[in-house]
Symmetry: C2
Subunit: 392 residues, 2 copies
């Protein structure tokens, strides 16, 4: 039998003598919990799109010739880059595709931000996508976290000071607030020799895209994903849009890591999905409409709801602490995301689901607040306690 050779323990974790120094010092990202197969839950915790992807995908899968899989994928993701370029009105050479926007973000942190001794720190908000500090730690990039204002807006002037680069999610996660183009332009102009990364994972749901700023700002790198806007979280396709020279930097890192990050099926399905603009427009309109209705209903029951430009809400409950509401919703089979972190532990992040799912959510919240037990909820799932096991 294999004996684990544990050399040191640190809280619940163990370290191995085979890990290098950096691996031992990592604090990995923790993704939202996933239900086990067969568990019926309302999943409003990882900002997935509640609707199936473009019907063009289902048709193409049925006709797909599996013998194609014996060959490596097309090396440059050409068809997908062309589709994304058409979508945004840029050149295909300005587009880079990767295995989800997480990979594209990781490549970007690795390719552009300096790790050397004495390098200026990069800036990102203290409250933002929690993968940014993880990337910075992985690549030993110095960081200065800029505190958001009291109302969770971004203090734009703070991002205009000399830096090693900037990373901003727009709209920001989990706060849902978006920066106007003029503010992004101001940041871009304040540091023409530093890369400014704008992560538009959720921009389809109401933020202004800053791709139009590219012609005048060679220091801009825009990151996008098909996970939310195209209902393709399971396919792992993300992209970057920038000047050709920045895109070449990403290609150099990719070709030093994994030549073919986008598989053949993902490439073909993603291309069709991006080309189906009608589906995209109808889908985002539908989600925005559900969001606006949900905002009204939550406001009516006294919740504070930030002005969302995303497919999720950031809300402060009334009459019950956020952590308690999170647990009670969970016991009732409704998953939302709760961050037990300074400044945001009074808030919940709630993904916009279907109208029906939001009805069930609101009813459950009202039931919980009026102090009925969660067991009486119309949507109780017996096995829900097991989901802890699959949380990493």
């Amino acid at each position: 039998m294999l004996q684990p050779s544990v050399c040191a323990s640190k809280g619940d974790e163990y370290m191995s003598r085979f890990w290098n120094q950096r691996t031992a010092s990592l604090t990995p990202y923790v993704a939202g919990e996933q239900p086990l197969p067969g568990q019926k839950v309302i999943k409003l915790n990882t900002n997935e799109n509640p609707y199936p992807p473009s019907p063009a995908i289902g048709k193409h899968i049925k006709d797909f010739d599996p013998s194609k899989l014996r060959l490596y994928p097309e090396l440059t993701s050409r068809t997908l880059r062309e589709a994304i370029a058409d979508f945004y009105g840029v050149r295909p050479g300005q587009v880079f595709c990767g295995n989800g926007s997480d990979e594209v973000l990781a490549f970007s942190f690795q390719a552009f931000f300096e790790t050397k001794e004495g390098a200026r720190p990069i800036f990102f908000p203290d409250i933002t996508y929690s993968f940014y500090p993880v990337y910075a730690n992985l690549y030993a990039i110095p960081v200065e976290k800029i505190p958001l204002n009291e109302d969770f807006t971004i203090p734009v002037d703070e991002f205009c000071r000399p830096s090693g680069g900037v990373a901003i999610s727009n709209p920001n996660a989990p706060t849902t607030l978006a920066l106007p183009l003029a503010d992004i332009k101001k940041i871009l102009e304040s540091q023409p020799d530093r890369l400014v990364l704008i992560d538009q994972a959720y921009a389809a749901f109401g933020a202004e895209s800053c791709v139009c700023l590219l012609p005048d700002h060679p220091n801009l790198l825009v990151i996008g994903t098909l996970s939310k806007s195209h209902s393709l979280a399971g396919l792992r396709v993300g992209y970057a849009i920038a000047s050709e020279e920045i895109i070449e930097g990403l290609q150099r890192v990719r070709d030093s890591f994994n030549s073919y990050p986008v598989d053949t099926l993902a490439l073909e399905l993603a291309t069709l999905s991006v080309r189906d603009k009608n589906w995209y427009e109808e889908n985002t309109r539908r989600i925005i409409s559900t969001r606006e209705t949900t905002v009204k209903r939550l406001t009516n029951i006294g919740f504070t709801v930030l002005d969302s430009r995303a497919n999720f809400l950031f809300v402060k409950p009334d009459g019950i602490p956020a952590g308690e509401l999170y647990k009670k919703l969970r016991a009732a089979g409704i998953l939302v995301r709760y961050f037990d972190k300074s400044r945001i532990r009074d808030y919940l992040r709630i993904t916009i689901g279907t109208d029906e799912e939001m009805d069930i959510l609101i009813t459950a919240i009202q039931t919980i607040i009026s102090d009925k037990s969660a067991a009486e909820s119309p949507y109780t799932v017996g096995t829900i306690t097991k989901i802890d096991e699959v949380t990493t």
Copy 2:
């Protein structure tokens, strides 16, 4: 219009003021060339499997419900890890899955080999998979390249000296020669506190798997891929097998980089493929049989052919320089791989295709050697000169 802001040029390449120091210093891996869509070529240059994958895959694709793609993939690739664990007779916790074995190799170099000042260099052969030096450069890992013996065998004792770790491809690429288990055991025992990475990308075609050494050697990390042995190069699925503590090291790096590297479709299709052991055995038998016939035929026309345990051959032509034969085969629509590098520039790497493809290859070689022009080859493709354009 966007103006590229080139700050320095270096031969054919340009560098950007937005790239960091390391990005500018990278020498990326160059994958084998890919024909353009519609080009009819015989592709013996990237060690792909000439046969379609398990028929279970085609069936599953047809029945796949595309609405599943709206959700993130299962976080731990559980079903696939279970299938691989069953295949090798290990526990699922000993298996890690990634986006092709290139990604798994990159994570391994990053997780286990030290980059700090004064760290002992890792060892790998001077002639081996050319991604190893690329990874080492990407992660600033000190390296000592150990020269292969004159006959391209691995000088085992040299790998038993104090090191920062070891990486060996077994069978080795492009030399096709395999180390016996006893030699791997000797290396493992010589440095019990250093990680020994054995890359078994091609082991299915005749090398002994060293997974059986795991119970006694916690410093062993075995890497595998479905690209060749399972005809799934286009799906991008690779894996690692090791002790749980080493696997946890890989998980930490993955979760600091990209939480979901294996997409939902790849996960399901790869699982079915690994479970179809009959297909696997029949397919590898068939390729080995074609290989042995091809070895005899090439030996008969005077070529030196190394003792291959892989799905490709490493051959020294007779009567024509390797580089010239490579070019003439290419002009005749047959792609093989040529490395214009010290020690191996007299050799060609030739993937084992179908029996029919090998017939065409041998006929073309005979035609070329008997000094007929390539234009008279029975398999000339007019547009072949265009493939240069897609070589990165």
